[in-house]
């Protein structure tokens, strides 16, 4: 497909999602409370969008990922939070 055709197919959907992201960030900042590791990771991931590389999806996923390599001692919960809390959390 040409770039124009890709835009015709996906631009409106991407625009909608981008505005939704902006509204989400506004909503978080309007609410009372402290910083959260998820928002820290979110902001780091956002930086990847502005970089010139052509693997932004991969870079965003890496920004949210646990970079360590050793198995953890015990699975305390079953669910995932979407962002790595970092050592000690």
């Amino acid at each position: 497909m040409t770039r124009r055709e890709i835009l015709d197919l996906y631009f409106m959907d991407a625009r909608y999602k981008l505005i939704d992201l902006a509204a989400f960030m506004d909503r978080v900042e309007r609410a009372e409370g402290g910083e959260d590791f998820r928002m820290q990771a979110f902001r780091e991931a956002l930086k990847e969008l502005g970089k010139g590389n052509k693997e932004r999806a991969r870079s965003v996923l890496l920004a949210f990922s646990d970079p360590t390599t050793d198995p953890i001692s015990k699975a305390g919960s079953k669910g995932a939070t979407g962002a790595w809390p970092g050592k000690g959390e």
Partner: protein, 263 residues
């Protein structure tokens, strides 16, 4: 599909699905004993094939103790002990979906035991990778464990739930890569097609998440429609959604498709 209503089988048949392959997975709660798994394996090998057959849909399954219940080593040992009893059943394709959830030491031990069981009985393996922030690390641990076992044939393993940061890792290891499609939160049809366009369509397939969460049994046929909108040929689409799975699953002699399944 134990987590889905009968209408889903009907809809899959109407959408042109040729077969359904259901992995053993978490029930949404921890089972209290190995007896619960025994009954579950009976459900997967006896009841679900009959339920799907009412709509002409061949039903196959995979058996294991899923990674979410792998922290309890005693339970895992008891469940692994009953699996061989079911492996000769006519619709069992192999061991799965094994793998990791939180990347814990006990999960690794149970994964290793499942791999040994699969090797011992000559079974295909379907491997679950953790979701979200745990996926990269979990995929690395899984691939390293499998590569470290000289008895594992990589072409007989599919690593599921790959995303943009893990797909190359799996393909480079010579294993099959599965992209699980979700309506929200994880891999979308558009992203799955992106990955095919970037990494090719060899040793890769897509599957529809059909679990207790928000999921869609028709995700694969809907992705086929999206591939058509993106200009992919009928031949390319057929390879990805039909011939590739048939090649991988065909390594199990019990996997047979109806003669009229070819589109």
């Amino acid at each position: 599909m134990v987590s889905r209503v009968t209408d889903d089988y009907s809809a899959m048949m109407a959408a042109g699905c040729a077969a359904v392959c259901e992995p053993a997975f978490w029930a949404g709660f921890d089972r209290s004993s190995a007896h619960g798994f025994y009954d579950y394996f009976r459900q997967l090998t006896e009841h679900e094939p009959k339920r799907a057959a009412k709509f002409g849909l061949p039903h196959f399954c995979w058996l294991c103790l899923n990674p979410k219940e792998a922290e309890d080593l005693k339970l895992a040992a008891e469940v692994l002990a009953i699996i061989p009893e079911f492996l000769d059943r006519p619709t069992v394709l192999g061991i799965g979906e094994i793998g990791l959830n939180k990347n814990s030491r006990n999960e690794m031990k149970v994964l290793e035991q499942h791999v040994d069981l699969a090797v011992k009985h000559g079974q295909l393996m379907l491997v679950h990778t953790p979701h979200l922030e745990d996926k990269l690390k979990g995929t690395r641990l899984i691939v390293d464990l499998l590569k470290g076992n000289r008895n594992v044939k990589p072409e007989r393993v599919i690593i599921d739930h790959v995303e943009e940061h893990t797909v190359k890792l799996v393909l480079d290891a010579g294993m099959w890569a599965g992209m699980t499609l979700y309506p929200e939160s994880k891999c979308s049809p558009a992203r799955a097609i992106d990955m095919v366009e970037m990494y090719g369509n060899e040793r890769i397939w897509m599957n529809s998440a059909c679990d207790w969460g928000v999921s869609d049994p028709l995700a694969v046929p809907k992705t086929a429609l999206e591939m058509r909108r993106r200009g992919h040929s009928a031949e390319t689409i057929d390879k990805l959604i039909y011939r590739n799975p048939a090649v991988f699953l065909g390594q199990c002699p019990k996997f047979k498709l109806p003669a009229n399944a070819e589109i």
